[in-house]
Subunit: 244 residues, 2 copies
Protein backbone atom coordinates (compact mmCIF):
# COMPACT_ATOMS: atom_id res chain seq x y z
CA UNK A 1 0.00 0.00 0.00
CA UNK A 2 1.21 3.48 -0.86
CA UNK A 3 0.44 6.61 1.22
CA UNK A 4 -0.09 9.81 -0.78
CA UNK A 5 -0.32 13.34 0.61
CA UNK A 6 -2.29 16.00 -1.27
CA UNK A 7 -2.15 19.76 -0.81
CA UNK A 8 -5.49 21.16 -1.91
CA UNK A 9 -7.18 24.51 -2.54
CA UNK A 10 -10.87 25.31 -2.92
CA UNK A 11 -13.38 28.08 -3.12
CA UNK A 12 -15.77 26.82 -0.43
CA UNK A 13 -18.77 28.83 -1.69
CA UNK A 14 -20.57 25.95 -3.38
CA UNK A 15 -19.73 23.24 -0.81
CA UNK A 16 -21.20 22.12 2.49
CA UNK A 17 -17.79 21.88 4.09
CA UNK A 18 -15.15 19.16 4.00
CA UNK A 19 -16.68 16.21 5.80
CA UNK A 20 -19.02 13.74 4.07
CA UNK A 21 -22.59 13.81 5.31
CA UNK A 22 -25.68 12.14 3.98
CA UNK A 23 -27.36 14.09 1.13
CA UNK A 24 -24.95 16.97 0.96
CA UNK A 25 -22.31 18.22 -1.42
CA UNK A 26 -18.99 18.02 0.43
CA UNK A 27 -15.36 18.28 -0.62
CA UNK A 28 -14.46 14.92 0.90
CA UNK A 29 -17.11 13.20 -1.20
CA UNK A 30 -16.06 15.06 -4.35
CA UNK A 31 -12.42 14.04 -3.83
CA UNK A 32 -13.15 10.44 -2.87
CA UNK A 33 -15.37 9.94 -5.93
CA UNK A 34 -12.77 11.49 -8.24
CA UNK A 35 -9.91 9.47 -6.70
CA UNK A 36 -11.90 6.23 -6.93
CA UNK A 37 -12.53 6.96 -10.62
CA UNK A 38 -8.82 7.59 -11.30
CA UNK A 39 -7.44 4.74 -9.16
CA UNK A 40 -10.19 2.19 -9.94
CA UNK A 41 -10.56 1.34 -6.26
CA UNK A 42 -12.59 2.72 -3.39
CA UNK A 43 -10.51 5.47 -1.77
CA UNK A 44 -10.84 7.16 1.64
CA UNK A 45 -9.33 10.60 2.02
CA UNK A 46 -8.45 11.99 5.46
CA UNK A 47 -7.88 15.74 5.79
CA UNK A 48 -5.98 17.70 8.44
CA UNK A 49 -8.91 20.05 8.93
CA UNK A 50 -12.66 19.54 8.58
CA UNK A 51 -13.45 23.00 7.23
CA UNK A 52 -17.02 24.28 7.77
CA UNK A 53 -19.55 24.87 5.03
CA UNK A 54 -18.48 27.91 2.98
CA UNK A 55 -14.90 28.03 4.28
CA UNK A 56 -12.08 28.24 1.67
CA UNK A 57 -8.64 26.63 1.52
CA UNK A 58 -5.31 27.40 -0.13
CA UNK A 59 -3.40 24.74 1.80
CA UNK A 60 -5.71 21.99 3.03
CA UNK A 61 -3.73 18.78 3.42
CA UNK A 62 -5.05 15.23 3.17
CA UNK A 63 -3.83 11.68 2.67
CA UNK A 64 -5.08 8.43 1.16
CA UNK A 65 -3.85 4.85 0.75
CA UNK A 66 -3.76 3.10 -2.62
CA UNK A 67 -2.52 -0.09 -4.26
CA UNK A 68 -2.53 1.59 -7.68
CA UNK A 69 1.04 2.27 -8.99
CA UNK A 70 0.06 5.45 -10.90
CA UNK A 71 2.89 8.03 -10.47
CA UNK A 72 2.07 10.97 -8.17
CA UNK A 73 2.48 13.52 -11.00
CA UNK A 74 -0.18 11.63 -12.95
CA UNK A 75 -2.49 11.46 -9.92
CA UNK A 76 -2.17 15.24 -9.53
CA UNK A 77 -2.85 16.00 -13.19
CA UNK A 78 -5.76 13.53 -13.40
CA UNK A 79 -7.35 15.10 -10.30
CA UNK A 80 -6.96 18.60 -11.75
CA UNK A 81 -8.45 17.36 -15.01
CA UNK A 82 -11.57 15.82 -13.44
CA UNK A 83 -12.17 18.24 -10.55
CA UNK A 84 -14.35 21.32 -11.08
CA UNK A 85 -12.71 24.74 -11.54
CA UNK A 86 -13.31 25.84 -7.94
CA UNK A 87 -11.06 23.07 -6.59
CA UNK A 88 -7.36 22.54 -7.28
CA UNK A 89 -4.59 20.13 -6.26
CA UNK A 90 -1.31 21.98 -5.71
CA UNK A 91 0.80 18.88 -5.03
CA UNK A 92 0.72 15.11 -4.60
CA UNK A 93 3.57 13.42 -2.77
CA UNK A 94 4.50 9.87 -1.75
CA UNK A 95 4.84 9.60 2.04
CA UNK A 96 6.07 7.01 4.61
CA UNK A 97 3.37 4.44 5.49
CA UNK A 98 2.79 5.96 8.94
CA UNK A 99 2.01 9.48 7.66
CA UNK A 100 -1.38 10.74 8.86
CA UNK A 101 -2.66 14.12 7.66
CA UNK A 102 -4.76 14.74 10.79
CA UNK A 103 -2.87 13.16 13.69
CA UNK A 104 0.55 14.39 12.62
CA UNK A 105 -0.44 17.99 11.89
CA UNK A 106 1.67 20.26 14.14
CA UNK A 107 -0.01 23.55 13.34
CA UNK A 108 -2.66 25.18 11.19
CA UNK A 109 -2.66 28.69 9.76
CA UNK A 110 -5.86 30.55 8.88
CA UNK A 111 -6.74 34.00 7.49
CA UNK A 112 -9.98 35.75 8.29
CA UNK A 113 -10.46 38.64 5.84
CA UNK A 114 -12.83 41.57 6.42
CA UNK A 115 -13.65 44.06 3.65
CA UNK A 116 -13.97 47.27 5.67
CA UNK A 117 -15.40 49.85 3.28
CA UNK A 118 -18.79 51.52 2.80
CA UNK A 119 -18.65 50.12 -0.77
CA UNK A 120 -19.12 46.37 -1.12
CA UNK A 121 -16.24 44.17 -2.30
CA UNK A 122 -16.22 43.14 -5.97
CA UNK A 123 -13.38 40.78 -6.97
CA UNK A 124 -12.85 39.99 -3.25
CA UNK A 125 -16.55 39.36 -2.49
CA UNK A 126 -16.42 35.54 -2.31
CA UNK A 127 -13.45 35.54 0.10
CA UNK A 128 -14.17 38.35 2.54
CA UNK A 129 -16.77 39.37 5.08
CA UNK A 130 -18.14 42.78 4.17
CA UNK A 131 -18.29 45.11 7.19
CA UNK A 132 -19.27 48.61 5.97
CA UNK A 133 -19.01 50.37 9.38
CA UNK A 134 -15.69 51.69 10.65
CA UNK A 135 -13.46 49.15 12.47
CA UNK A 136 -10.46 50.10 14.59
CA UNK A 137 -7.83 47.61 13.39
CA UNK A 138 -5.25 48.86 15.94
CA UNK A 139 -7.59 47.97 18.87
CA UNK A 140 -8.33 44.62 17.27
CA UNK A 141 -4.60 43.94 17.06
CA UNK A 142 -4.12 44.99 20.71
CA UNK A 143 -6.84 42.52 21.73
CA UNK A 144 -5.01 39.59 20.08
CA UNK A 145 -2.20 39.63 22.65
CA UNK A 146 -4.61 38.19 25.26
CA UNK A 147 -5.42 35.25 22.97
CA UNK A 148 -1.81 34.31 22.27
CA UNK A 149 -0.44 31.29 24.10
CA UNK A 150 -1.97 28.22 25.74
CA UNK A 151 -5.49 28.76 27.12
CA UNK A 152 -8.77 27.00 27.74
CA UNK A 153 -10.75 28.31 24.76
CA UNK A 154 -14.12 26.98 25.92
CA UNK A 155 -15.67 30.49 25.53
CA UNK A 156 -14.55 30.42 21.87
CA UNK A 157 -16.03 27.01 21.00
CA UNK A 158 -19.36 26.15 19.34
CA UNK A 159 -21.78 24.93 22.03
CA UNK A 160 -22.26 21.65 20.15
CA UNK A 161 -18.51 21.16 19.62
CA UNK A 162 -17.55 17.85 21.21
CA UNK A 163 -13.96 17.55 22.42
CA UNK A 164 -12.39 16.19 25.57
CA UNK A 165 -10.22 19.22 26.21
CA UNK A 166 -10.76 22.80 25.07
CA UNK A 167 -7.15 23.78 25.78
CA UNK A 168 -5.33 24.94 22.63
CA UNK A 169 -2.20 26.96 21.90
CA UNK A 170 -2.28 30.00 19.63
CA UNK A 171 1.26 30.37 18.37
CA UNK A 172 0.79 33.55 16.38
CA UNK A 173 -2.09 35.98 15.93
CA UNK A 174 -2.22 39.45 14.39
CA UNK A 175 -4.60 41.92 12.79
CA UNK A 176 -3.28 43.87 9.79
CA UNK A 177 -4.90 46.60 7.74
CA UNK A 178 -4.04 46.37 4.03
CA UNK A 179 -5.89 49.26 2.33
CA UNK A 180 -9.61 48.39 2.73
CA UNK A 181 -8.88 44.83 3.92
CA UNK A 182 -8.52 43.88 7.58
CA UNK A 183 -6.79 40.52 7.85
CA UNK A 184 -6.73 38.38 10.98
CA UNK A 185 -3.91 35.84 10.73
CA UNK A 186 -3.83 33.02 13.24
CA UNK A 187 -1.57 30.03 13.75
CA UNK A 188 -2.32 27.37 16.33
CA UNK A 189 -1.65 23.76 17.24
CA UNK A 190 -5.32 23.05 16.53
CA UNK A 191 -8.68 24.76 16.69
CA UNK A 192 -12.00 23.91 18.32
CA UNK A 193 -15.23 23.91 16.33
CA UNK A 194 -15.91 27.48 15.02
CA UNK A 195 -13.01 28.78 17.16
CA UNK A 196 -11.41 30.97 14.46
CA UNK A 197 -14.80 32.37 13.44
CA UNK A 198 -15.76 33.16 17.07
CA UNK A 199 -12.36 34.85 17.56
CA UNK A 200 -13.01 36.87 14.36
CA UNK A 201 -16.54 37.79 15.55
CA UNK A 202 -15.17 38.87 18.94
CA UNK A 203 -12.34 40.93 17.41
CA UNK A 204 -14.93 42.66 15.19
CA UNK A 205 -16.80 43.65 18.39
CA UNK A 206 -13.52 45.15 19.63
CA UNK A 207 -13.10 46.96 16.27
CA UNK A 208 -16.64 48.36 16.65
CA UNK A 209 -15.77 49.60 20.19
CA UNK A 210 -18.46 47.35 21.69
CA UNK A 211 -15.73 45.53 23.64
CA UNK A 212 -12.42 46.82 25.04
CA UNK A 213 -9.26 44.94 23.97
CA UNK A 214 -8.65 43.82 27.58
CA UNK A 215 -12.19 42.31 27.80
CA UNK A 216 -10.74 39.29 25.99
CA UNK A 217 -9.10 38.21 29.27
CA UNK A 218 -12.43 38.05 31.16
CA UNK A 219 -14.09 36.24 28.25
CA UNK A 220 -11.33 33.61 28.24
CA UNK A 221 -11.44 33.05 32.00
CA UNK A 222 -15.29 32.90 32.03
CA UNK A 223 -15.09 29.82 29.74
CA UNK A 224 -18.61 30.91 28.76
CA UNK A 225 -19.51 30.94 25.05
CA UNK A 226 -22.20 33.59 25.60
CA UNK A 227 -19.55 36.13 26.73
CA UNK A 228 -17.65 36.03 23.40
CA UNK A 229 -18.80 37.69 20.17
CA UNK A 230 -20.91 36.12 17.43
CA UNK A 231 -19.58 33.43 15.07
CA UNK A 232 -18.37 35.39 12.00
CA UNK A 233 -19.69 34.16 8.65
CA UNK A 234 -17.65 31.44 6.94
CA UNK A 235 -16.86 33.26 3.67
CA UNK A 236 -14.07 35.36 5.25
CA UNK A 237 -12.17 32.27 6.44
CA UNK A 238 -9.39 30.58 4.46
CA UNK A 239 -7.23 27.66 5.62
CA UNK A 240 -3.76 28.66 4.47
CA UNK A 241 -1.33 26.02 5.64
CA UNK A 242 -0.85 22.84 7.64
CA UNK A 243 2.62 22.14 9.02
CA UNK A 244 4.01 18.74 10.04
CA UNK B 1 -30.69 69.22 -16.11
CA UNK B 2 -27.98 67.79 -13.83
CA UNK B 3 -24.91 65.90 -15.10
CA UNK B 4 -23.75 63.02 -12.89
CA UNK B 5 -20.50 61.09 -13.19
CA UNK B 6 -20.30 57.50 -11.95
CA UNK B 7 -17.18 55.43 -11.25
CA UNK B 8 -18.10 51.79 -11.69
CA UNK B 9 -16.63 48.32 -11.15
CA UNK B 10 -17.77 44.98 -12.51
CA UNK B 11 -16.86 41.37 -12.88
CA UNK B 12 -17.43 41.07 -16.65
CA UNK B 13 -17.83 37.27 -16.61
CA UNK B 14 -21.62 37.21 -16.93
CA UNK B 15 -21.98 40.16 -19.32
CA UNK B 16 -21.75 40.63 -23.09
CA UNK B 17 -19.68 43.79 -22.71
CA UNK B 18 -20.64 47.37 -22.00
CA UNK B 19 -22.58 48.50 -25.04
CA UNK B 20 -26.29 47.77 -25.49
CA UNK B 21 -27.12 45.40 -28.30
CA UNK B 22 -30.36 43.74 -29.24
CA UNK B 23 -31.05 40.52 -27.29
CA UNK B 24 -27.97 40.52 -25.13
CA UNK B 25 -27.13 41.11 -21.50
CA UNK B 26 -24.94 44.22 -21.36
CA UNK B 27 -23.76 46.49 -18.58
CA UNK B 28 -25.11 49.61 -20.27
CA UNK B 29 -28.59 48.10 -20.37
CA UNK B 30 -28.36 46.92 -16.75
CA UNK B 31 -27.32 50.40 -15.58
CA UNK B 32 -29.84 52.30 -17.70
CA UNK B 33 -32.72 50.10 -16.49
CA UNK B 34 -31.64 50.50 -12.86
CA UNK B 35 -31.15 54.28 -13.18
CA UNK B 36 -34.54 54.68 -14.90
CA UNK B 37 -36.14 52.77 -12.02
CA UNK B 38 -34.47 54.98 -9.39
CA UNK B 39 -34.91 58.33 -11.18
CA UNK B 40 -38.38 57.59 -12.63
CA UNK B 41 -37.31 58.83 -16.06
CA UNK B 42 -35.63 57.25 -19.07
CA UNK B 43 -31.87 57.59 -18.59
CA UNK B 44 -29.03 57.23 -21.09
CA UNK B 45 -25.61 56.38 -19.69
CA UNK B 46 -22.44 57.15 -21.69
CA UNK B 47 -19.23 55.38 -20.65
CA UNK B 48 -15.61 56.32 -21.31
CA UNK B 49 -14.83 52.83 -22.59
CA UNK B 50 -16.97 50.25 -24.35
CA UNK B 51 -15.41 47.19 -22.74
CA UNK B 52 -15.67 43.89 -24.64
CA UNK B 53 -17.68 40.89 -23.55
CA UNK B 54 -16.00 39.28 -20.51
CA UNK B 55 -13.74 42.26 -19.70
CA UNK B 56 -13.74 43.54 -16.09
CA UNK B 57 -13.58 47.04 -14.63
CA UNK B 58 -12.44 48.62 -11.38
CA UNK B 59 -12.64 52.20 -12.68
CA UNK B 60 -15.05 52.46 -15.60
CA UNK B 61 -16.42 56.00 -15.78
CA UNK B 62 -19.77 57.08 -17.20
CA UNK B 63 -22.17 60.03 -17.11
CA UNK B 64 -25.89 60.65 -17.40
CA UNK B 65 -28.26 63.62 -17.39
CA UNK B 66 -31.25 63.84 -15.07
CA UNK B 67 -33.96 66.27 -13.95
CA UNK B 68 -34.46 64.30 -10.70
CA UNK B 69 -33.13 66.21 -7.64
CA UNK B 70 -32.13 63.03 -5.71
CA UNK B 71 -28.78 63.70 -3.92
CA UNK B 72 -25.74 61.93 -5.43
CA UNK B 73 -25.10 59.93 -2.24
CA UNK B 74 -28.65 58.54 -2.51
CA UNK B 75 -28.20 57.75 -6.21
CA UNK B 76 -25.03 55.81 -5.36
CA UNK B 77 -26.63 53.84 -2.52
CA UNK B 78 -29.80 53.10 -4.51
CA UNK B 79 -27.71 51.80 -7.43
CA UNK B 80 -25.66 49.59 -5.11
CA UNK B 81 -28.89 48.33 -3.54
CA UNK B 82 -30.56 47.35 -6.85
CA UNK B 83 -27.52 46.22 -8.87
CA UNK B 84 -26.40 42.58 -8.71
CA UNK B 85 -23.40 41.60 -6.58
CA UNK B 86 -20.97 41.47 -9.53
CA UNK B 87 -21.41 45.19 -10.21
CA UNK B 88 -20.60 48.10 -7.90
CA UNK B 89 -20.72 51.91 -7.95
CA UNK B 90 -17.67 53.40 -6.22
CA UNK B 91 -18.75 57.04 -6.53
CA UNK B 92 -21.40 59.37 -7.93
CA UNK B 93 -20.53 63.05 -8.40
CA UNK B 94 -22.29 66.16 -9.70
CA UNK B 95 -20.38 67.61 -12.71
CA UNK B 96 -20.53 70.79 -14.84
CA UNK B 97 -23.11 70.56 -17.63
CA UNK B 98 -20.46 70.16 -20.35
CA UNK B 99 -18.81 67.08 -18.76
CA UNK B 100 -18.68 64.11 -21.15
CA UNK B 101 -17.29 60.76 -19.93
CA UNK B 102 -16.11 59.67 -23.39
CA UNK B 103 -15.00 62.84 -25.20
CA UNK B 104 -13.21 64.37 -22.24
CA UNK B 105 -11.29 61.24 -21.20
CA UNK B 106 -7.55 62.05 -21.31
CA UNK B 107 -6.20 58.58 -20.65
CA UNK B 108 -7.20 55.02 -19.82
CA UNK B 109 -5.30 52.50 -17.72
CA UNK B 110 -5.69 48.73 -18.13
CA UNK B 111 -4.20 45.63 -16.53
CA UNK B 112 -3.85 42.35 -18.37
CA UNK B 113 -3.14 39.57 -15.86
CA UNK B 114 -1.64 36.18 -16.75
CA UNK B 115 -1.56 33.31 -14.25
CA UNK B 116 1.76 31.69 -15.17
CA UNK B 117 1.87 28.41 -13.28
CA UNK B 118 1.44 24.73 -14.17
CA UNK B 119 -1.39 24.71 -11.57
CA UNK B 120 -4.54 26.54 -12.52
CA UNK B 121 -5.59 29.70 -10.68
CA UNK B 122 -8.23 29.34 -7.95
CA UNK B 123 -9.31 32.63 -6.34
CA UNK B 124 -7.78 34.51 -9.31
CA UNK B 125 -9.43 32.33 -12.00
CA UNK B 126 -12.15 34.78 -13.11
CA UNK B 127 -9.67 37.66 -13.55
CA UNK B 128 -6.61 36.09 -15.15
CA UNK B 129 -5.62 34.22 -18.28
CA UNK B 130 -4.11 30.87 -17.32
CA UNK B 131 -0.89 30.16 -19.23
CA UNK B 132 0.68 26.97 -17.78
CA UNK B 133 3.85 27.03 -19.94
CA UNK B 134 6.89 29.07 -18.90
CA UNK B 135 6.85 32.74 -19.93
CA UNK B 136 9.92 35.00 -19.87
CA UNK B 137 8.55 38.16 -18.23
CA UNK B 138 11.86 40.03 -18.65
CA UNK B 139 11.74 39.60 -22.47
CA UNK B 140 8.09 40.65 -22.46
CA UNK B 141 9.04 43.80 -20.55
CA UNK B 142 11.90 44.52 -22.99
CA UNK B 143 9.43 44.25 -25.89
CA UNK B 144 7.17 46.94 -24.40
CA UNK B 145 9.69 49.73 -25.04
CA UNK B 146 8.94 49.51 -28.80
CA UNK B 147 5.23 50.05 -28.13
CA UNK B 148 5.67 53.12 -25.96
CA UNK B 149 4.93 56.51 -27.55
CA UNK B 150 2.82 57.65 -30.50
CA UNK B 151 2.46 55.07 -33.29
CA UNK B 152 0.09 53.86 -35.95
CA UNK B 153 -1.29 50.75 -34.18
CA UNK B 154 -3.11 49.36 -37.22
CA UNK B 155 -1.35 45.99 -36.76
CA UNK B 156 -2.81 45.85 -33.23
CA UNK B 157 -6.42 46.57 -34.18
CA UNK B 158 -9.32 44.15 -34.78
CA UNK B 159 -9.86 43.83 -38.56
CA UNK B 160 -13.49 44.94 -38.15
CA UNK B 161 -12.54 47.88 -35.91
CA UNK B 162 -13.81 51.03 -37.61
CA UNK B 163 -11.92 54.24 -36.83
CA UNK B 164 -10.64 57.11 -38.96
CA UNK B 165 -7.13 57.06 -37.53
CA UNK B 166 -5.25 54.18 -35.94
CA UNK B 167 -2.64 56.47 -34.39
CA UNK B 168 -2.63 56.28 -30.58
CA UNK B 169 -0.17 57.21 -27.85
CA UNK B 170 0.90 54.68 -25.21
CA UNK B 171 2.02 56.77 -22.27
CA UNK B 172 3.18 53.95 -20.04
CA UNK B 173 3.54 50.20 -20.49
CA UNK B 174 5.30 47.58 -18.38
CA UNK B 175 5.35 43.87 -17.61
CA UNK B 176 5.81 42.88 -13.97
CA UNK B 177 6.13 39.45 -12.39
CA UNK B 178 4.41 39.22 -8.99
CA UNK B 179 4.92 35.63 -7.77
CA UNK B 180 2.92 33.49 -10.26
CA UNK B 181 1.17 36.49 -11.80
CA UNK B 182 2.50 38.33 -14.87
CA UNK B 183 0.85 41.74 -15.09
CA UNK B 184 0.87 43.92 -18.20
CA UNK B 185 0.03 47.50 -17.23
CA UNK B 186 -0.76 49.95 -19.99
CA UNK B 187 -1.80 53.60 -20.05
CA UNK B 188 -2.77 55.35 -23.26
CA UNK B 189 -4.73 58.29 -24.62
CA UNK B 190 -7.17 55.79 -26.13
CA UNK B 191 -7.22 52.27 -27.52
CA UNK B 192 -8.41 50.73 -30.79
CA UNK B 193 -10.81 47.78 -30.81
CA UNK B 194 -9.07 44.76 -29.15
CA UNK B 195 -5.79 46.72 -29.03
CA UNK B 196 -4.86 45.85 -25.42
CA UNK B 197 -5.76 42.19 -25.95
CA UNK B 198 -3.71 41.98 -29.19
CA UNK B 199 -0.77 43.63 -27.39
CA UNK B 200 -1.16 41.05 -24.58
CA UNK B 201 -1.36 38.18 -27.12
CA UNK B 202 1.77 39.47 -28.88
CA UNK B 203 3.71 39.92 -25.63
CA UNK B 204 2.78 36.34 -24.67
CA UNK B 205 4.38 35.20 -27.98
CA UNK B 206 7.52 37.08 -26.89
CA UNK B 207 7.34 35.39 -23.45
CA UNK B 208 7.09 32.00 -25.20
CA UNK B 209 10.19 32.86 -27.30
CA UNK B 210 8.14 32.62 -30.51
CA UNK B 211 8.93 36.29 -31.18
CA UNK B 212 11.98 38.38 -30.28
CA UNK B 213 11.37 41.60 -28.31
CA UNK B 214 12.64 43.70 -31.24
CA UNK B 215 10.14 42.01 -33.65
CA UNK B 216 7.55 44.46 -32.25
CA UNK B 217 9.12 47.21 -34.37
CA UNK B 218 8.56 45.35 -37.65
CA UNK B 219 5.01 44.41 -36.63
CA UNK B 220 4.20 48.06 -35.91
CA UNK B 221 5.68 49.33 -39.18
CA UNK B 222 3.96 46.57 -41.22
CA UNK B 223 0.55 47.96 -40.07
CA UNK B 224 -0.60 44.38 -40.78
CA UNK B 225 -2.87 42.69 -38.21
CA UNK B 226 -1.73 39.22 -39.33
CA UNK B 227 1.85 39.96 -38.22
CA UNK B 228 0.88 40.55 -34.55
CA UNK B 229 -0.01 37.79 -32.07
CA UNK B 230 -3.49 36.43 -31.33
CA UNK B 231 -6.14 38.40 -29.46
CA UNK B 232 -5.73 37.29 -25.82
CA UNK B 233 -8.94 36.14 -24.08
CA UNK B 234 -11.00 38.86 -22.38
CA UNK B 235 -10.97 37.46 -18.82
CA UNK B 236 -7.41 38.71 -18.11
CA UNK B 237 -8.32 42.32 -18.93
CA UNK B 238 -9.43 44.89 -16.35
CA UNK B 239 -10.11 48.59 -16.97
CA UNK B 240 -8.49 50.28 -13.99
CA UNK B 241 -8.86 54.00 -14.40
CA UNK B 242 -9.99 56.85 -16.64
CA UNK B 243 -8.36 60.23 -16.16
CA UNK B 244 -9.81 63.61 -17.20
Amino acid sequence: MRTIKLVIGYNGERYEGWQSQRNSKTLQELFEKTLSRILKEKTDLISASRTDSGVHALGQTAHFKTKNPLPVARIKSALNFYLPKDVVVFSAKEMPANFHARYQARSKVYHYDIWNSPTRPLFEAPFTLWHPGKLDAASMNRATRHLKGKHDFNAFKAIDGETKSSVREIKRISVKKIKTLIRIEIKGDGFLKHMVRIIAGTLIEVGRKKLKPQAIQQILSSKDRTKAGPTAKPQGLTLLKITY
